[in-house]
Protein backbone atom coordinates (compact mmCIF):
# COMPACT_ATOMS: atom_id res chain seq x y z
CA UNK A 1 0.00 0.00 0.00
CA UNK A 2 2.95 2.30 0.63
CA UNK A 3 3.91 1.59 -2.97
CA UNK A 4 0.70 3.24 -4.21
CA UNK A 5 1.36 6.37 -2.16
CA UNK A 6 4.96 6.46 -3.41
CA UNK A 7 3.84 6.22 -7.04
CA UNK A 8 1.23 8.94 -6.51
CA UNK A 9 3.86 11.24 -5.00
CA UNK A 10 6.27 10.54 -7.85
CA UNK A 11 3.60 11.35 -10.46
CA UNK A 12 2.82 14.60 -8.66
CA UNK A 13 6.53 15.45 -8.54
CA UNK A 14 6.79 14.88 -12.30
CA UNK A 15 3.83 17.18 -12.93
CA UNK A 16 5.40 19.77 -10.65
CA UNK A 17 8.60 19.59 -12.67
CA UNK A 18 6.60 20.22 -15.86
CA UNK A 19 5.26 23.40 -14.29
CA UNK A 20 8.76 24.39 -13.23
CA UNK A 21 9.96 24.00 -16.80
CA UNK A 22 6.97 25.76 -18.37
CA UNK A 23 6.44 28.45 -15.75
CA UNK A 24 6.31 31.84 -17.41
CA UNK A 25 7.53 33.83 -14.41
CA UNK A 26 10.23 33.11 -11.88
CA UNK A 27 7.58 32.88 -9.14
CA UNK A 28 5.86 29.96 -10.83
CA UNK A 29 9.13 28.12 -10.72
CA UNK A 30 9.76 28.94 -7.07
CA UNK A 31 6.23 27.87 -6.17
CA UNK A 32 6.77 24.63 -8.03
CA UNK A 33 10.06 24.12 -6.23
CA UNK A 34 8.38 24.68 -2.89
CA UNK A 35 5.74 22.08 -3.71
CA UNK A 36 8.48 19.72 -4.86
CA UNK A 37 10.15 20.14 -1.46
CA UNK A 38 6.96 19.31 0.42
CA UNK A 39 6.49 16.23 -1.74
CA UNK A 40 10.08 15.21 -1.05
CA UNK A 41 9.42 15.37 2.69
CA UNK A 42 6.47 13.00 2.39
CA UNK A 43 8.34 10.79 -0.06
CA UNK A 44 11.21 10.32 2.39
CA UNK A 45 8.77 9.54 5.20
CA UNK A 46 6.78 7.03 3.11
CA UNK A 47 9.98 5.46 1.84
CA UNK A 48 11.13 4.93 5.41
CA UNK A 49 7.95 3.00 6.13
CA UNK A 50 8.23 1.11 2.84
CA UNK A 51 11.69 -0.15 3.77
CA UNK A 52 10.72 -0.69 7.39
CA UNK A 53 13.39 1.75 8.55
CA UNK A 54 11.76 4.66 10.40
CA UNK A 55 15.15 6.37 10.85
CA UNK A 56 14.37 8.12 7.59
CA UNK A 57 11.92 10.28 9.53
CA UNK A 58 14.82 12.24 10.99
CA UNK A 59 15.90 13.21 7.49
CA UNK A 60 12.33 14.17 6.61
CA UNK A 61 12.18 16.32 9.74
CA UNK A 62 15.34 18.20 8.82
CA UNK A 63 14.17 18.54 5.23
CA UNK A 64 10.91 20.11 6.40
CA UNK A 65 12.90 22.86 8.10
CA UNK A 66 15.39 23.35 5.26
CA UNK A 67 12.65 23.57 2.63
CA UNK A 68 11.14 26.63 4.27
CA UNK A 69 14.46 28.39 4.73
CA UNK A 70 15.44 27.62 1.13
CA UNK A 71 12.25 29.13 -0.28
CA UNK A 72 12.65 32.30 1.76
CA UNK A 73 16.33 32.58 0.83
CA UNK A 74 15.65 32.21 -2.90
CA UNK A 75 12.88 34.81 -2.71
CA UNK A 76 15.18 37.17 -0.87
CA UNK A 77 17.81 36.69 -3.55
CA UNK A 78 15.45 37.58 -6.38
CA UNK A 79 14.15 40.53 -4.45
CA UNK A 80 17.54 42.23 -4.13
CA UNK A 81 18.53 41.33 -7.69
CA UNK A 82 17.60 44.77 -8.95
CA UNK A 83 18.81 47.73 -6.86
CA UNK A 84 15.80 49.89 -7.78
CA UNK A 85 13.32 47.39 -6.46
CA UNK A 86 15.21 47.04 -3.23
CA UNK A 87 14.80 50.73 -2.61
CA UNK A 88 11.07 50.81 -3.22
CA UNK A 89 10.55 47.78 -1.05
CA UNK A 90 12.46 49.26 1.82
CA UNK A 91 10.51 52.47 1.42
CA UNK A 92 7.31 50.55 2.09
CA UNK A 93 8.48 49.23 5.39
CA UNK A 94 7.81 51.42 8.41
Amino acid sequence: MFIAATIAILIAMALGLVRALLGPTIYDRILSGNMFGTLTIILIAVHGFLEGRPEFLDIALVYALINFVATIAVLKYFRIKSPDKNETLQGEEP
Binding site: M1, F2, A4, A5, I7, A8, I9, I11, A12, M13, L15, G16, V18, R19, L22, T25, Y27, D28, I30, L31, S32, N34, M35, T38, L39, I41, I42, A45, V46, F49, P54, L57, D58, A60, L61, A64, L65, N67, F68, T71, I72, L75, F78, R79, K85, T88, L89
Partner: protein, 116 residues
Protein backbone atom coordinates in the same frame (compact mmCIF):
# COMPACT_ATOMS: atom_id res chain seq x y z
CA UNK B 1 -7.27 -4.52 11.13
CA UNK B 2 -9.68 -1.59 11.14
CA UNK B 3 -6.69 0.68 11.66
CA UNK B 4 -5.00 -0.86 8.65
CA UNK B 5 -8.00 -0.25 6.39
CA UNK B 6 -8.36 3.28 7.71
CA UNK B 7 -4.70 4.03 7.09
CA UNK B 8 -4.94 2.66 3.55
CA UNK B 9 -7.90 4.93 2.89
CA UNK B 10 -5.94 7.91 4.20
CA UNK B 11 -2.88 7.06 2.12
CA UNK B 12 -4.91 6.64 -1.06
CA UNK B 13 -6.87 9.83 -0.41
CA UNK B 14 -3.64 11.72 0.22
CA UNK B 15 -2.07 10.34 -2.93
CA UNK B 16 -5.14 11.26 -4.99
CA UNK B 17 -5.14 14.80 -3.61
CA UNK B 18 -1.43 15.24 -4.20
CA UNK B 19 -1.96 14.35 -7.87
CA UNK B 20 -5.04 16.60 -8.13
CA UNK B 21 -3.03 19.48 -6.65
CA UNK B 22 -0.26 18.90 -9.18
CA UNK B 23 -2.83 18.87 -11.99
CA UNK B 24 -4.14 22.14 -10.61
CA UNK B 25 -0.62 23.57 -10.78
CA UNK B 26 -0.69 22.82 -14.50
CA UNK B 27 -4.23 23.96 -15.28
CA UNK B 28 -4.65 27.19 -13.33
CA UNK B 29 -3.83 30.41 -15.16
CA UNK B 30 -1.59 32.59 -12.98
CA UNK B 31 0.75 32.43 -10.02
CA UNK B 32 -1.86 33.52 -7.49
CA UNK B 33 -4.35 30.82 -8.33
CA UNK B 34 -1.56 28.28 -8.65
CA UNK B 35 -0.55 28.94 -5.08
CA UNK B 36 -4.02 27.68 -4.07
CA UNK B 37 -3.19 24.35 -5.68
CA UNK B 38 0.21 24.27 -3.97
CA UNK B 39 -1.51 25.00 -0.66
CA UNK B 40 -3.78 22.05 -1.31
CA UNK B 41 -0.79 19.73 -1.71
CA UNK B 42 0.82 21.20 1.41
CA UNK B 43 -2.20 20.87 3.67
CA UNK B 44 -4.49 18.08 2.63
CA UNK B 45 -2.22 15.85 0.59
CA UNK B 46 0.64 15.89 3.08
CA UNK B 47 -1.74 15.82 6.05
CA UNK B 48 -3.63 12.76 4.86
CA UNK B 49 -0.49 10.79 3.94
CA UNK B 50 1.19 11.54 7.27
CA UNK B 51 -2.05 10.67 9.08
CA UNK B 52 -2.08 7.37 7.22
CA UNK B 53 1.51 6.70 8.30
CA UNK B 54 0.63 7.60 11.90
CA UNK B 55 -1.91 4.79 12.03
CA UNK B 56 0.80 2.33 10.98
CA UNK B 57 3.18 3.10 13.86
CA UNK B 58 1.42 0.73 16.25
CA UNK B 59 0.96 2.67 19.45
CA UNK B 60 2.36 5.82 20.98
CA UNK B 61 6.11 5.94 20.42
CA UNK B 62 8.93 8.05 19.08
CA UNK B 63 7.96 7.51 15.44
CA UNK B 64 4.49 8.90 16.05
CA UNK B 65 5.99 11.93 17.75
CA UNK B 66 8.29 12.59 14.83
CA UNK B 67 5.42 12.32 12.36
CA UNK B 68 3.42 14.81 14.43
CA UNK B 69 6.42 17.16 14.33
CA UNK B 70 6.70 16.85 10.54
CA UNK B 71 3.02 17.69 10.20
CA UNK B 72 3.47 20.66 12.54
CA UNK B 73 6.40 22.05 10.58
CA UNK B 74 4.60 21.70 7.25
CA UNK B 75 1.48 23.39 8.60
CA UNK B 76 3.36 26.27 10.20
CA UNK B 77 5.85 26.99 7.43
CA UNK B 78 3.61 26.52 4.39
CA UNK B 79 1.49 29.69 4.85
CA UNK B 80 4.55 31.80 5.63
CA UNK B 81 6.42 30.66 2.52
CA UNK B 82 3.28 31.11 0.43
CA UNK B 83 2.73 34.61 1.78
CA UNK B 84 6.33 35.62 1.09
CA UNK B 85 6.10 34.28 -2.44
CA UNK B 86 2.81 35.98 -3.31
CA UNK B 87 3.96 39.25 -1.79
CA UNK B 88 7.20 39.16 -3.77
CA UNK B 89 5.26 38.42 -6.97
CA UNK B 90 2.93 41.35 -6.29
CA UNK B 91 5.83 43.68 -5.52
CA UNK B 92 7.46 42.60 -8.77
CA UNK B 93 4.42 43.80 -10.69
CA UNK B 94 2.61 40.55 -11.41
CA UNK B 95 -1.04 41.24 -12.19
CA UNK B 96 -3.53 38.61 -11.07
CA UNK B 97 -6.12 37.48 -13.59
CA UNK B 98 -9.41 38.51 -12.05
CA UNK B 99 -13.04 38.12 -12.93
CA UNK B 100 -14.55 41.38 -14.09
CA UNK B 101 -17.61 43.10 -12.74
CA UNK B 102 -17.82 41.56 -9.28
CA UNK B 103 -18.85 44.04 -6.62
CA UNK B 104 -18.00 42.58 -3.26
CA UNK B 105 -18.15 45.76 -1.25
CA UNK B 106 -21.89 46.25 -1.72
CA UNK B 107 -22.62 42.71 -0.65
CA UNK B 108 -20.54 43.28 2.46
CA UNK B 109 -22.79 46.09 3.63
CA UNK B 110 -25.97 44.17 2.98
CA UNK B 111 -24.60 41.01 4.62
CA UNK B 112 -24.63 39.05 1.37
CA UNK B 113 -28.35 39.54 0.82
CA UNK B 114 -27.87 40.70 -2.78
CA UNK B 115 -27.56 37.81 -5.26
CA UNK B 116 -24.77 38.13 -7.77
Amino acid sequence: MILDVLSWIFLLLGGAFVIIGAIGMLRLPDVFSRSHAAGMVDTFGAGMIVLGLMLQTGGINLILFKLVLILFFIFFTSPAANYALVRAALADGAKPILKEGVDLQSSEKEEGAKPL
